[in-house]
């Protein structure tokens, strides 16, 4: 019985929200919307040298991101030699695979990429809660119905944490930031061995 009680308590704690666990202070002074500044300039071609480490494999290529209109982004991946590996279109609520190599055409993989890239390119977000912690203002929002925490340090977006049941699932880190371009980006998954590292090649 005692064990049951303890495990119940543990369960309660582990189900607690990420914000509570991190001791964030609620701050309701802000507006209901905020913006992700990256990949938001239609005149720019965003081209990154990418390294994808998945389990014990590592492969590279170029990740190419372009804002087409206010409501549309294209994301393509090619090898260094130019062979296209996939090409996706994101519109407000829709996602379309324009092309994918047969070898990569796996539902699970496409889903992971879709969710990760959606975070990179979604510009206008609704605030469900706003917190502060040290120098950070942290905006909680929903993407594909999952909680995401956007960390702004001195008005610069430095990281996004995707959390589930109080646990960090995916961490997006933006560094070497210049004129609303994050020259380095890391997307690290904690539940699977997957890390995507991006380095801008067009300055």
């Amino acid at each position: 019985m005692r064990y049951l009680l303890i495990s119940f308590c543990v369960l309660l704690v582990s189900c607690g929200s990420y914000s509570k666990k991190q001791n964030f202070q609620l701050d309701n002074s802000a507006s209901k919307k905020f913006e992700n500044p990256y990949f938001s300039d239609e005149t720019k071609d965003y081209v990154y040298k990418a390294t994808i480490d998945v389990y014990d494999n590592s492969f590279g290529g170029l990740l190419i991101i372009k804002k087409i209109t206010d409501k549309e982004h294209r994301i393509a991946f090619t090898t260094e030699m130019g062979n296209k590996m996939f090409d996706f279109t994101f519109t407000e609520d829709e996602f379309k695979v324009n092309f994918i190599l047969d070898e990569l055409d796996k539902k699970m993989l496409i889903n992971i990429l879709k969710k990760d890239f959606k975070v990179l390119i979604t510009e206008n977000l609704s605030v469900s809660n706003l917190y502060s912690e040290n120098n950070n203002r942290i905006f909680e929002t929903l993407i594909y119905n999952k909680n995401h925490y956007y960390y702004f340090n001195r008005n610069q977006l430095t990281q996004v944490i995707k959390a589930k049941n109080g646990k960090e699932k995916v961490a997006f880190l933006f560094t070497d930031i210049n004129n609303n371009i994050a020259n380095k980006i890391s997307i690290k998954h904690n539940n699977i061995k997957l890390e995507i590292k991006l380095k801008s090649i067009i300055r």
Binding site: D45, N57, K66, A76, E80
Partner: protein, 205 residues
Amino acid sequence: MRNLVYLFLFLTISIQSQTKMSSSEAHALKSLVKEQALTTKTIFSDFTQYKHLDFLTNDIITKGKLAFKTPNLVKWEYTEPYKYTVLFKNETLYINDEGKKNEVDIGSNKLFKQLNSLIINSIKGDMFDDDAFHIMYYKTDKNSLVHFIPKDKKSSKYIDAFHITFNAKGDVLEVKMIEPSRDFTKIVFTNKELNKPLSDAVFTN
């Protein structure tokens, strides 16, 4: 009116700039390339790669050096804007990605292998394979342009056509791989040196 004249001139030039070869001209080109191939033992060249994606404002430009030695050693070394080397040797692909070495490969490079063998074959002169490609011959001002359209259904899913430009001597100047989406990769060779001695050490990773 003057604009109209210019437009007309421009149209005439662009129409003239690419005309179909007669079968005897095509035959002459084939034997020229074959001839050239027989005497070419090594190639050392700079290259510029243009990746064109229709949705981008500018092509993605990367540069490097190509080294080739008969019968089938090929090394593509990208130096700008990043360092990346891919070496084809003994049917294996060796990759050096800014110091990170890898021999493992993914399926997409099958395509590159195909391009690579096409380039090697174009050097050897036995790429004019009518079983594998629909081939069309054109002449431009000074050069020849050959379109290779794969007959194999599987590769035509990824590649619509290869366009190879030869100079008057039968040397490859430019290779363009066009995807079914009309996006393409174009590789332009410059400062090409033929038959310069290249030691096997060049072909290590």
